[in-house]
Symmetry: D2
């Protein structure tokens, strides 16, 4: 059973994760892992922090001479801007952010106590965790990728950029839509036998846990509400060469809560970032008087980065479901079990 | 910690659930519970089974003289049509259903071994579980409801019905869109501190585990991809009477992965039912020859019923998050803790 | 991942369990399962209830034509003595039982609300769950058995019986010691990499959850506190025929939190049953006045039965660890994976 | 819900833990935390490593200006002796250690790949985790302590020391017995309603996960197998000043799987350390030829240290059960809920 916990605040000393359950004998490519962290920092519309600070993950544990040991991996990303104890208190919560509710829930009187953790900075170690899972999945020919599909209503790349420039000029922010695709997934990950074992449920839960994600759809997604059944289900075919296959993939690779062997395709809608240069109406949590919301350093648009985070989430969930199906404590054992199953499909 | 497991096959003896973690002292209204089961059977476009069979839950355990004991609740719904061992084998999987992959995964040669459990019949005890949770939430003024918003592209009620009639005539099926709303939820359920504690993530995971659900969106949902940040975030206000409040609820009641005190609003897209009267192309799993898919008894449209199931899922997830926040082993204790917190919000 | 929940009160309608995660294709022998339930009712010193009432489990779900489907098993045992709503309230808690604390915790004013669930009756479905797991383990040559080693200080069978007779005459009760042995367990179940994955930890947790168990020891157990290291660790040998083997088994089959291939041997101490015919000092929970504790129907001695329950707990925990190691959704797949691993050990 | 994961190898860069679920507003005393780490290094019979290396935990996250934030705590302990990639391979497994099975399970050909994680070094961060929990429990007047009761059969302090000296001279090792006591625990932590919610089960599971622990007993423990029921159960009394109380505590503070308000008393038997200066028979895992086991740096006796680790485990499990019972996201909220409950007990 794969599992992880993360810790770290935005201006704390570091971001850290422990990933438990990865089999032994997996070659970890730290360079490739850090390329994922780099990818997370890219995208048109990112703030200045991204330009100054280059994230580099260090592996604290779980690896000896480049190979996983089967013991938990410690993943560590330093924060360059470490001064959590010296930050000036903030008391004007930003609409759309965790600020206000976080203070009510935890009894904080400084919204920094919330935003330091509610920050998207947390996703840096989730990407590190996901990158390890990606390397695991690659061993089985599974490839996970993402693509930006829309920014502020625009589907054309140059129009997207224009929207971001317009938003930036107006001290505003942009949301958008991206897809994540996982190709090479064998049929039978997840299960219909219990609600919480459905792969779709786990992917949706994981993806909805990414800050600012507000909608998730598989395959045709919301389009399913418009069509008749006869035109949307993916007819089943068989050939000796391919085994079972489909000519369409409206289901986004998932039927009955399980991977069906077609590429998994999921789309996520990201809301515009909640920190605005021209802040919205808010209330000072100490005085209860109306004020404009706090203004922090912010990105105009981070949809592309969110796509990278989503790849990580998908990679983690797929690796977890994969290990549940196939078991095994070493990469060799997982491969042996996997091959044994794949042979039964032919 | 609230948790449950369900068991039961469509033509097995019964559907059964164990719900663990409900506090003691909650008055269980079995009549109200069975009204939820009845609601799950309604809706224009349901098949004949719904007309014949009226589901009635029995409480096997966990209740004494009408009050919960704090021990696990056993919930039981009899299947009228009990003949699982005598069913004729099926070998032609229905596209869009668990049939094919389920057989590959579990090594079955009769797709009945899959569809008996992958059936939407499982949701009957999830509704029973959810109904208990609803009664718990009602004690705190939390009310959960659902509404059909679209059937096969139509938003107008009489046009929806026409579409269903058209589908029925054509031996086809209809999907659609529905919303679930939870009013009266206190701010601070769920948390941003860990990915899997976000209320949005848990709701999305739960909802996506309902058979045939393919898209989930909170508040503005996919609409967030179109707008600038300044126009979508819900500005924060305060008055002595209301405390903190919003004039808009684009966020669907969730900020930073937590309930923010506004109604939680989530929309789900359901795909058209995968069993069709005029079946799609398929393959016989034994002969591997092309065949039309199996035809089983089916509903033309079950979007309204799915809304009722979704209410149950939302009720369960809210009750679980509520009990995590407030703790307590008896209803009195939960109420005392709840009131203590609510007083700090004023 | 194997998991289960149970429900049911002693004088409620039934005891019920849902067992989720058992692979498909396992032949369930209901007769053998019910022999385990019968074994749980035996033993010198049992009360009259055991003589009247013969427990018979019914399988509600998860099985078709005698084979598991891969979907959850519902297990049901009827209570003959069903009258929970009509029981006369009790207010004098029995020392050594859950009565007093249960009322404080859950806010009950009738200790029946506690003892109905805290009853050893709950173990009947745990034995049913364990019996299914035993049948699974048998497929891999793993055999679990128990033996009474001591009753009230006596190790000799006829002296044990005398003690029980003496206790019965005095309206008193007897505790004792029993062992559970699991032979045929492959090396490598459980893991040292995380505290909660240690097989020893899981077995200890499971066994200590059996009512009245107060001590758990593996192999030499408390005897390890007396000896030097050089005389207690099991030296390692190898032969072509046997592979690695030991000449001693002080470790009780567990090293580093993992099965080591030798028989797993664990001993449990059971306290004397807390219901006494000549009751101890207690307090009426309503009047707060000193009173003698309530007297309910009771067993003089149930150590042998507790051994059967412990076999079930051990069988469940081994099956869970086995499925984590080997994965697999059908018995064939688990066997294929198991054999692949076993070959690497030679 | 409190949870944690640890990572780190004995000669890796560090040991690290993430502790999730600790409420906000708890003052963390780092000095007191490090005194616990120091206590873990003490005790007659420790090896040289303990003398050179002084462990100091650093808090990576979850704390701002000395107070917990409600977000996960990252806990970090540096390894002075960091050279995991340069260690010379070992192939002669030590009987009694994870060496042999770990290699079989994970497919390693160097037993260092196992012993680096199976090392008792892992417990250093578990003590750090436990120390945080201890500080939390202290806020509610709960105090956890341990005491060595026996070394190699000796109960007298000076005789214990002699045994250790004798063992040291003979290049041998000593096991022993220690107790952990938790005073001030309110009645009602844990529950009888489900097997895995019993406090006794959780404590036993946690304690049995400490390396080298082979037996766990509550209160009278194995002594319960010798006595009649009438002489061992703790009669119940009540006075206006004390509320309910007992004159004896044979139950070790636990009845029906719940704390009963009396001190929790649990004893653990530790086997002698498996690394011996005069090694036992073993087998080279590569050549399969008989060899003496590997000799690593070792402690002659670590029973006192194991007691400190056990305090940590008990503190963690109590804090987890405490937070389940009382809920709450800030220390103030937990205290308010706790006080509300305690008032009902009077």
């Amino acid at each position: 059973m794969l599992r992880f916990l993360t810790a770290g605040e935005s201006h704390g000393r570091c971001m850290v994760a422990v990933l438990e359950g990865m089999p032994a004998g997996l070659k970890i490519d730290l360079k490739a892992l850090n390329i994922e962290l780099k990818r997370r920092q890219l995208g048109y519309g990112r703030g200045d922090r991204m330009k100054i600070e280059v994230d580099n993950a260090e592996i604290l544990s779980g690896v000896k001479n480049g190979l996983t040991l089967g013991s938990p991996l410690g993943l560590y990303v330093k924060n360059v801007d470490f001064r959590i104890d010296d930050l000036i208190p903030l008391t004007k919560p930003r609409p759309g952010h965790a600020d206000l509710v976080g203070c009510l829930k935890y009894g904080h009187e400084d919204i920094r106590c919330v935003l330091e953790r509610a920050s998207a900075r947390e996703t840096v170690v989730r990407v590190a965790v996901g990158a390890v899972c990606k390397q695991f999945l690659n061993e089985f020919g599974i490839v996970v990728a993402s693509e930006v599909l829309m920014i502020c209503g625009e589907k054309n790349k140059s129009k997207m950029i224009k929207k971001i420039e317009q938003a930036k000029k107006n001290l505003d922010t942009c949301g958008g839509l991206f897809s994540v695709t996982a190709a090479g997934v064998p049929p039978g990950l997840g299960s219909y036998v219990a609600a919480d074992r459905r792969l779709s449920a786990r992917l949706a839960g994981g993806l909805m846990s990414i800050p600012a994600i507000k909608a998730i759809e598989f395959g045709l997604g919301t389009g399913y509400a418009i069509e008749f059944g006869s035109s949307v289900h993916d007819a089943i075919y068989y050939s000796k060469e391919k085994g079972y296959f489909r000519k369409t993939n409206h289901a986004g690779g998932i039927e009955g809560g399980m991977s069906n062997g077609e590429p998994i395709v999921v789309r996520c809608t990201m809301k515009p970032i909640a920190t605005l240069g021209k802040p919205l109406d808010s209330v000072d949590i100490l005085t209860k008087k109306p004020e404009k919301a706090a203004v922090e350093r912010y990105d105009t648009c981070a949809v592309q980065a969110a796509g990278v985070v989503a790849e990580s989430v998908v990679s983690y969930e797929l690796a977890a479901a994969f290990l549940e199906k196939f078991g095994g404590d070493s990469l060799n054992e997982v491969k042996r079990n996997y091959k044994g199953y794949m042979r039964t499909l032919q």
